[in-house]
């Protein structure tokens, strides 16, 4: 059985936001909302200071709190394990948003539905890569079937120690990280969506 997943190597992410921009363009994501973004985290104290770049997106959890919470059955799982939102069945009760520990779901007013990363299901169904993977200049993202030992993602996951974001939530994330510097611990209380409340009016335009 296919188990689609994404492996992100934090050693090679340079925080260029090409993935975020490609995702925004692919789905026409509204201002202030994100399916995919990159967290910048400074850690340490002078002079031993470092900055981590951590791409974040929906984790397509194997035990997805959003899917379990949705009262209308609008959140569904595809054959490859991707968790998607059926716009026609969504009445925007926001229970999925309240349940998701990753803050990966946002409201798209134009579409009148909750939205989130789909691992670019429309592209992968045609044998293409997700937009963020295609756009990444350092190939820090690898997408594929984790259960097929011939795939690059399965081989790299087997060769490296991998971690998941918010492991304590035990949701079985399908987004794996190679994270030798323990960067994920710095965003343990964070989410995909960005707090723009401190920005000046019009700053996001």
């Amino acid at each position: 059985m296919t188990r689609l997943a994404m492996l992100i190597d934090l050693n090679t992410c340079i925080g260029c936001h090409a993935c975020s921009v490609a995702c925004k363009a692919e789905f026409d994501v509204p201002l202030g909302a994100f399916r995919d973004t990159v967290k910048y985290v400074e850690a340490g104290s002078f002079p031993a200071v470092t900055r981590h770049f951590i791409p974040v997106l929906c984790n397509q959890c194997e035990d997805a709190p959003c899917l379990n919470a949705c009262p209308t059955g609008a959140v569904v799982r595809m054959d490859g394990g991707e968790v998607m939102i059926d716009e026609g069945d969504c009445n925007l009760n926001k229970f999925c948003m309240a349940a998701c520990p990753y803050g990966a779901i946002y409201i798209d007013d134009d579409k009148g539905a909750a939205q989130k990363c789909t691992f670019c299901h429309h592209r992968t169904a045609e044998g293409r890569q997700p937009a963020c993977v295609d756009a990444c200049p350092t190939n820090c993202r690898i997408f594929g079937d984790l259960d097929d030992p011939q795939t690059e993602i399965a081989q790299k996951a087997a060769a490296h120690e991998t971690r998941v974001w918010k492991e304590d939530q035990e949701t079985g994330p399908r987004v794996l990280y190679i994270d030798p510097r323990n960067a994920l611990s710095h965003i343990a209380d964070d989410g995909v969506q960005v707090d723009a409340s401190a920005e000046l009016p019009g700053a996001g335009a």
Binding site: N68, G73, D89, N91, F95, A99, P101, G191
Partner: protein, 305 residues
Amino acid sequence: MSPTAAAHAPLPEPAWGTLLAVYFVLIGLPSGITLVSWWLRDRQGVTAAILVERQGSWIAMAALIGASILLVADLGRPERFFLMLTRFDNLGSPIAVGAKLIALKTFLLAIVLYAMERRRRTAGSAEVPAGTGVTGVTYVLPWLLVAASFGLAIYPASVLSRSWASPLAGSSGAALIFLLTALLMGLAAAILIAVAAGGADPDGTGRMLRLGRRALLGVLGLFGLTLAFEGLSLGGSPPDRHLLDEVLAEGSGATFWGLVVLIGIVVPAVGLAFAHRRRAAFVVSAAGVLIGAAATRYLIFAVGR
């Protein structure tokens, strides 16, 4: 389950706001009124209980409709509310179950109200005891109503415990607190109805108030004990202690000590214990209980976000 989600706030703003806060407070009232009416209807000699059941049922219906309007108004696409009722593919979602329970209770309450008003008209506007003209249907209906009301009384705990924004709802005592606050609201409403109708039947009202006073004092005692043990259970892990600090001292301290403890428990307990010969004491105590119960339900919704 431990409410350790306090440290997690993955969205800049919680998904649910004021409308749902009011909803989770209000939904306790119809449940409490129905449960209290069901308990009162079998008390021998409490004639005012018949009036409480009829007027209480109307109030419960109004509160249910009000709560349903809040629930629908909070949806981003209110025109699709029917999906909550017609879709059965995820009964693991407490909101899906709750919406169906509200619909069921509204339907059952409408039948009970129709039967009560019809019997009353037949008797020439006199209050007719609930057992009059009992058939199989009228025997089963109240039990179904009680079951739906009990479910609605505790279901907010299962909804909110699934949200990272209401970590207190995942604590050990949350469901019991929701049940007790619903009962407190129901008892307070019953007392207010009895006091308002006092002139028509002084003896019946007197018996009703004596019974209501004993019941309210008893449930207030249980409520205080539950809050105390809830506090003890939250004294464990650091995230839980942070929640407890928020309730007792930080942002919600004034609400907890002022509305829940002082107005919701101390004032009614003193009023009912020492000034129970005055009707005003009943009114003040019942109003205090309503405020305290509402504040408690609000705190479970709001603390930790």
